[in-house]
Amino acid sequence: MLEAITLARPPMLEPVSLALPPGTVTGVIGPNGAGKTTLLKALAGLSRGPGSVLIDGEPLTPHPRRLAWLPASRDAVWPMTAATLVALGLGPGAAPDAQAVAAALAACDAAPLADRPVNQLSTGERARVLLARALVARPAWLLLDEPIANLDPGHRLDVMALLAAEAQRGAGVVLALHDLDLAARCDRLLLIHKARLVADGTPADVLQERHLAGIFGVTRAANGWQRAANAPLGD
C-alpha cells in the first residue's frame, strides 16, 4: 500500500490524501497543466512541499527496487548505448546484471536498440528505452509520467499490456496519460482538474459524459472524439 497525505502545495496542487493498493494500474488523467505531473512527483517523494509518502506504513526512502520514477522528458545528454542507459536503472554502485537489462529491453520491444546510442534513436524509440530503464530493477512501485506519449498505436497497446502484467506480478503502477480510450484499461482513474482531484474511481465512474465535456471539452461521436459544443473549458 502506498499512502500519500496532503501533498504538494497550492496553486500547483491542492492537498489530497490517497491510498493506492499494489497490484493495480492507476491512471492519472486531466487537461494540460492540471497538475498530473505534480501529483505523480509528490507520490514519488520528489516534491519539496509538505506531506508524507508511506509505503506499507514506512516513510518512503528512495531505492531502485522500491520505486521507479519516469519523467516525461525524453532527453538524453550522453550518447551512451541503450543497454548502458538501462543498466543505470539498477542503481548507483549496483552489480552489473546483463540478464535483467536484456529482459527489460525485450519487455519494451527495444532489444534491437540495445547497442545503439540513445541520442540517435527516434523520440518514440527512446521513450521505450527509458521505460525499460524504469523497469529494470523490478521495482515495487512504478510512477510513470506519460509513458505512452510519443509511441505509435501498437506500442501504446503493448505498454498498457506490459503495465497490466507488472501489476499482475504485484507491482503498483501509477501513470499519467492523455489517451482516454487507453485510460479505460486502467483499474482505477484519478481525474485532476485545476490542481484538484475531482474524481477517483473505476474508469466507468470517471469517464462520464459530464467530465469529458465539462473538463476535457470533448464528446464521443460515431467517427471518434469530437470537440464538445460550447465546451465550457472554464469550469
Binding site: 514519488a44 528512495p62 531502485p64 521507479a68 550522453w78 548502458t84 543505470l88 542503481g91
Partner: protein, 314 residues
C-alpha cells in the same frame, strides 16, 4: 584501457625525469652530489607536479561535466580555474603568503567561483537550470574573475611583481620546488579520491536529477561533495603552476567513449589521461626550440578542439 593509460603515463614520467638542459648521467660521473640535487630539486618536482596537476584537471573536468550534465563544462571554461588563479595571486602577491597560503588561496578561489556559478545558474531550480544558462553563467563568472585578475595586475606593488605575475599566470612547471609538490599533490589526491567515491552517483545523475534522486542519490549532498572535491583537485594545482587551460575540457572527451559514455566512470581514466597529456605537453615545452609556456601550449592544442566540439553541435 586504464592499464594502457597508466603505462603511457609511467613512460612519459620516466621521459620527463630524463629530459633536461643537462645530461644527468654525465653530471653524475663528474659530481654525484650535484646530479642528486638536480634530480630531487628540479626534475622530480617538475614531473610529480605534471602528474598531479594533470590528473587533478582531467578528473575535475570529467566530474564537472558529469555533475552539470554538460559536455562543454570544465573548470577552466566555467571559472573555477580562473578563481583559483585569482585566489593564489591575492594570497601570494598581496597578502605575502607562502607556498601553503597560495595553495589555500587557490582552493578558496576555485570554491568561490563554483559557488558563484551555481548561484548565478540557479542550480537545483529544476529543469529551468538548463545547459545554456549554465554555460552563459560560467562565461560571465570566468570573465568577471579574469577582469579581477587584471585589476590585481594593475595594482601590482612593483614592475618586477607585475612581470612575475604575468609569467606565473601563463602556466608553467619550470623551477618549481619539492615543497610545492609535497603540498599540492596530497590536496589534489584528496580531491580526486572524493571524486572517485562519487563516480557511481554521477553515473546515475546522467538520467537526470529527479531520477537520480529516486534511485537513492542525495543530489544536494552530491553537489556539495563535488564542488569541494573539484576545488581541491584544481585549486592547489593552479596555485602552484598558474593557469593551464583546456586539459579539463579536452581529456574527458577523449576517454568517455571508452567508458560507454558513462560520465562518472570517466573520472579515473580522465585523471590518468590528464596526467599523461600534461607530462607530454611539459616534455614538448622543454624540447621545442621556442620559449613556450606550458599553459600557452595546452591552450594552443585545446582551443581548436573546443571549437570542433562546438561545430559538431556537442
Amino acid at each position: 584501457m586504464i592499464r594502457l593509460l597508466a603505462l603511457l603515463c609511467l613512460a612519459l614520467a620516466a621521459a620527463s625525469l630524463a629530459i633536461g638542459p643537462v645530461d644527468l648521467a654525465s653530471v653524475w660521473a663528474r659530481n654525484p652530489e650535484l646530479a642528486r640535487a638536480l634530480f630531487v630539486e628540479l626534475r622530480l618536482p617538475r614531473t610529480g607536479l605534471a602528474l598531479a596537476i594533470g590528473a587533478g584537471l582531467g578528473g575535475a573536468g570529467a566530474a564537472t561535466q558529469a555533475l552539470l550534465r554538460n559536455p562543454l563544462a570544465s573548470p577552466d571554461v566555467l571559472g573555477p580555474s580562473t578563481g583559483a588563479a585569482l585566489g593564489a595571486v591575492l594570497a601570494g602577491y598581496f597578502l605575502g603568503a607562502g607556498v601553503i597560503g597560495m595553495a589555500a588561496g587557490g582552493i578558496m578561489g576555485a570554491l568561490a567561483a563554483l559557488l558563484l556559478l551555481l548561484g548565478l545558474a540557479g542550480f537545483g531550480a529544476g529543469p529551468a537550470a538548463g545547459s545554456t544558462r549554465l554555460v552563459l553563467a560560467g562565461v560571465a563568472v570566468a570573465t568577471l574573475l579574469g577582469v579581477a585578475i587584471n585589476l590585481a595586475l594593475s595594482l601590482a606593488p612593483s614592475p618586477f611583481a607585475l612581470y612575475d605575475l604575468m609569467i606565473w599566470l601563463m602556466g608553467s612547471l619550470a623551477d618549481r620546488t619539492l615543497p610545492q609538490l609535497l603540498i599540492a599533490a596530497p590536496l589534489i589526491a584528496l580531491g580526486l579520491a572524493l571524486l572517485v567515491r562519487a563516480a557511481p552517483a554521477l553515473d546515475a545523475l546522467a538520467l537526470g536529477e529527479e531520477v537520480a534522486q529516486s534511485l537513492g542519490v542525495a543530489t544536494a549532498g552530491l553537489n556539495r561533495h563535488i564542488i569541494i572535491a573539484v576545488a581541491l583537485a584544481t585549486g592547489a594545482g593552479v596555485a602552484v603552476a598558474g593557469s593551464i587551460a583546456f586539459v579539463g575540457l579536452v581529456v574527458p572527451h577523449l576517454v568517455r567513449p571508452f567508458t560507454g559514455h558513462r560520465p562518472g566512470a570517466a573520472i579515473v581514466p580522465a585523471a590518468i589521461a590528464g596526467a599523461a597529456l600534461l607530462l607530454a605537453a611539459d616534455i614538448a615545452v622543454r624540447l621545442l626550440p621556442l620559449d613556450l609556456r606550458l599553459g600557452v601550449l595546452t591552450a594552443l592544442i585545446g582551443a581548436p578542439f573546443f571549437l570542433s566540439l562546438i561545430l559538431r553541435g556537442r
